[in-house]
Subunit: 384 residues, 4 copies
């Protein structure tokens, strides 16, 4: 609710593209999650707020029932924002009751519900940015805090790793993890090296100016096709060219392009093409995770911007780990059924809740998606 | 503005299909019309409210400039409703100034602007109905006034007309008319007959129950194709079948189907198929207009429901009258450039401003359009 | 069959766009017409050649049964051309038998079948032209006979007509006419004038060079939209620009553009835009037909190129005449069910059978269609 | 050419869906490969057969130049089959000349050209099957040899493997391998088990009869979406239900479904859903390849149908091996640029050239593709 405070009522309802759900929908759906998976099964006295909401705010759980079509969420002027707030209050109150009497399974699900809400907090900001960033008036979501001048990006270096048999996946230390991070298992890595930082806007601009978007030899075939369909990409999603000068839309409004900041809002195809142009490649998720584990907490090795700057596309298709078991029942649809056609991103961005990310966290999006805060870390085979 | 009073702020912004513009957009566009065609050319001191609005709220006037894409009007959470109200107040005030000093041409254009606003008043209600009528919650736009019980429809009769050379088109009595109603000209009509009233829901239900939507011999080829693409029509747009019982959505909410009320929200294809099933045809616009002229003011001849119940599909494709001249400049785009692929409707519906319609008024929509308050009057060649 | 002699076997099967059916399909469908509407109902001993053909070669007769999807006709490598020839021979032989014993109704239908075949003879050439004209090798269908040098087009003049009550539609002289030409009926025409000849390539080139395709004020709204979707028209369908020089594909191959020949292969939208640019309009079908009747046989009045040069777009939407009755049964689908969204063309082109056209003949196509041999005759209101 | 002998001329040209290229195109494109990559660079005296062919028969090599649109290959009635045969003879003759003087690089490329032609031999049969199998006449490509009665499939068993560090990728024994099989590298496998044979039609029928296509919990989200779009899958691609009896189209014609034969022509989505229904999963390509290596030549371990029955979907997304380097120049587009959105298949089918497949061979298709001879081998984590 705090994230929504800067919004006008009008901003809660729009869905400028199918993937960018309205803020109102995020507010209602996360509440629906608690109602559906906690209150209905575990609180016998619970009375649903509105019977139609089971259908209206179900995202994709076939095990729960039919869903209102995803692409039409922006067409629902009702319920109003006030009604959604009442819905949240109704469910929050019932959750308080449930906490007083909860069983273990309900506790575990509550934790999942909170993690789920954290994910939607990020998506809400991602989607608000899409809305405002595509409105010709370019409204700001929040004031620019008067950022300190961007510091020059350090020189790009590659940090080597020796390879061998390693382990990835969540460690059994009791902390929360999604099912897709399990089980921890062994992998074999060939020697390789990861870049010490993310690719900057300045570096990406050099790629553009070198004809990056016009040279098919740099692109995956599907990326090249995508490049020439629909919107015709020529730059990252929020870059705007005006009078030969690049500007970038942020949640604080349109500003001059910061050449030292990490490039964000690029697709996997663009990340991959950039890497090829730069004589490098993207890291695998195994390489990324083992490097991230080495970081935490004391060892560092020179890697920066691993968490909290931008999601980092990996070269790994999103799939199941050996021995993976989805959660039982409809909650098994949370992660498992998306294990095709998507690529893994690692790290976490500036709009991700700080305590939400961890080395084993697997984010996943389609290779053409650009509306997430997605950037690029380079990798290399070591003998290059 | 009065029509918008029952709306929540959330209702002003949605566009559930490309043709159903958001109420906020109607409010802004009608104001844009006065700003663009009156204030900018005729009030030298006028300062535009917001330079971006020229683009944002231009509907289709290429002579004015580029237009924000029609299908994305619902994605504009900004300007807010309050800002649009300010825009209207700004323009209204300037119009007052202009009225103090107006030339003839400006006066004529002001009248056009008012007629334009009346058209959008109707469209606003049409579009609100589409939004509410497609929301699973089926909210009501206004309370049901407790309508008097529907009166039984009178027996269907055909009123004959002798044909011959007649005149249609606006008469030069000084009253307002759109350019597409001019010039008045002669036509030759064969003898024919028009039904005394509109087709009722009950009659249309008989068509459905007789397999009307499943018998290709009743349909135009393009209608049959349309019937089987997209939404798969099986009844008028706002009919809802639940537990084997038909209900109909009105601006007052979902109610039992009134069998004696005129059927509304049917496409030209459905009107044409119904007429064929009934052994009749649709009237031409020439037949309709000459009959309507005969009505007014004293002669009646038995025709009812000519104005104010439902727009009545005619068998006439929308085209230019002999000698037609569009208005000069960008205003010439108002009506003339749509003279292909659309069918003429005559009469006016329950949401049309009462003083807006007249015998010569030509409304026009695509034959597959159903979201207007469009109904059916039958006609016959006389020797049948 | 004679028209197919220049074809390679490979040419019989292709369908480069849904509207351009393969020659093999034309050969089989016209035979299907005789089999379905003559042999099956009137020749009791008739044995169908292949039971699957009833479905495969039914074009659009719902009254006969389901149809193989139109857009996939080019996917049928079988039956082979030889098998289709056998099919034709089988049906031809049975028709000979039928002729020996035919009733009146069968005779009337045979005549319809022959007219139908004549229509498909034209379509076959139209479709072969589309195929060859879109093949990068630009093969010729037939040799160029060494045409005499094109004669200079005469000066454009407008031939006036006085208007008044006239008659159109087929005359009851016993000659064949399609149902859509009936009944003959009276119309009222305002005074007007028709151009003495068709618009030439040279004149149309001047329209292009004057920015005709880039000026929205010249275009119908639907035409302007069409212009910017899909193929992006910038010239008639078979004009090819190479090294700043326009050439035109004909059935005899690619040749230099003949500036004095009539422009052909333009859509209604282009014809309408050209007319607006030229300060004129298109004729209505009533104006065209009455002028054509005046021509035949002795009076001339100065009109040329009325028949046999190019189909001429009229400003008239294709619809039914007052009192129109389609043929009974499935044959009623021949013309009547297409009476929406299409425009009437009059005259006949260089690939139309000479004895096939007449003043009352109504051809009809969608306003965006360009693959027919369609050209432009201008008209004017007389007082211009 | 021998594979084409059963074809009628008409069969060489059709392309019933974009992926199923015409036989004529396969014949020309494989010849184009030799012309483009061997003759033009290495045989100075070579004269191209037809300059337009460089464009017409380029499949996807941007490094060579523009390509004729893939989806329109079926629209090219010219060049004729005879002309394509002449093209092949022309290039074959020049290749003989080249072989007399070839350098090492040319020899390596020739070998690649032959492997390329072998791939297209398989595709040609795959595409012919698609064409014939979707023609309502269901023609046979070749006679049924009177197959011996299908033997009962052996009992399904799972063969265990211990896991650990293994190697995959081509071995450096000098035999031909594509670049995507390199470099050989180490992987870590968890213990697992592979089914001893492929899933049979009978087993797959049980999945269908158990509601397999109607239970969302069995399907990947993208698969469930695909299932409900377009063709609406309810069975493998060539199964045909008639009078409650399943038949299957083979290149020998329509026959009764053989319950003991491997199920083929299923998509990855169907293979994955079947595996989930069966309480198993698909093997990874690493698991498959190490098992295949263990097979060859002497060890067997009970695995059958590894090569020559059906391509076997793996759970592995197609990507690059660590240290992968594509071939230099335009030939680098052969495999590398397709490394996104596709899944790896292993083994080889009944239409694959026998000496073409090997343990390290990686075939790849989109998860929704069904027109390849693709089947299912199950796998399990060992502790199940």
């Amino acid at each position: 609710m705090r994230l929504c405070e800067p919004l006008a009522i009008e901003d809660y309802g729009v869905q400028p593209m199918p993937d960018a759900s309205p803020p109102k929908w995020h507010l209602a759906h996360t509440t629906w999650f608690f109602e559906t998976f906690l209150l209905k099964p575990y609180l016998p006295a619970y009375r649903p707020f509105n019977a139609d909401f089971e259908f209206l705010f179900n995202s994709y759980y076939n095990g729960v029932g039919k869903q209102f079509p995803r692409g039409e969420r922006g067409n629902l002027s009702r319920p109003t924002v006030a009604e959604v707030r009442d819905y949240r209050a109704h469910v929050d109150a019932a959750m308080e009751t449930l906490f007083g009497q909860a069983e273990d399974e309900a506790e575990a699900r509550s934790l999942l519900g909170l993690q789920h809400e954290q994910q939607h907090q990020e998506l809400l900001l991602t989607d608000v940015k899409y809305n405002f960033g595509h409105n010709p008036l370019h409204p700001a979501y929040r004031d620019d805090p008067g950022r300190p001048g961007s510091r020059p990006a350090p020189r790009l270096r590659f940090i080597e790793s020796g390879g061998g048999v390693r382990e990835i996946g969540t460690t059994s230390n009791g902390a929360f993890a999604f099912d897709n991070e399990t089980p921890r298992h062994r992998v074999f890595l060939e020697p390789h090296a990861l870049a010490n930082r993310l690719v900057t806007n300045g570096e990406y601009l050099a790629f553009i100016e070198d004809g990056g978007y016009t040279r098919p030899e740099l692109w995956l075939a599907d990326g090249w096709t995508r490049l020439h369909s629909g919107e015709r990409w020529t730059a990252p999603l929020y870059w705007r060219l005006k009078n030969d000068c690049w500007r970038e839309y942020h949640l604080t409004g349109l500003t001059q392009l910061d050449l030292d900041a990490p490039v964000i809002h690029v697709s996997y195809y663009e990340a991959d093409a950039y890497a090829r142009w730069a004589g490098a490649r993207l890291p695998t998720e195994q390489e990324w995770e083992t490097a991230a584990e080495d970081l935490s907490p004391e060892a560092n090795g020179g890697l920066t911007q691993m968490f909290g700057d931008a999601w980092q596309w990996t070269a790994s298709a999103y799939g199941s780990y050996p021995g993976y078991e989805p959660l039982p029942g409809a909650l098994g649809e949370y992660n498992g059924k998306f294990m095709s056609n998507q690529m893994v991103l690692r790290g976490g961005s500036c709009v991700t809740a700080e305590d939400h990310v961890r080395p084993s966290y697997r984010n996943f999006f389609y290779p053409g998606d650009r509306w997430q805060f997605s950037g690029i870390r380079l990798a290399r085979d070591r003998d290059l």
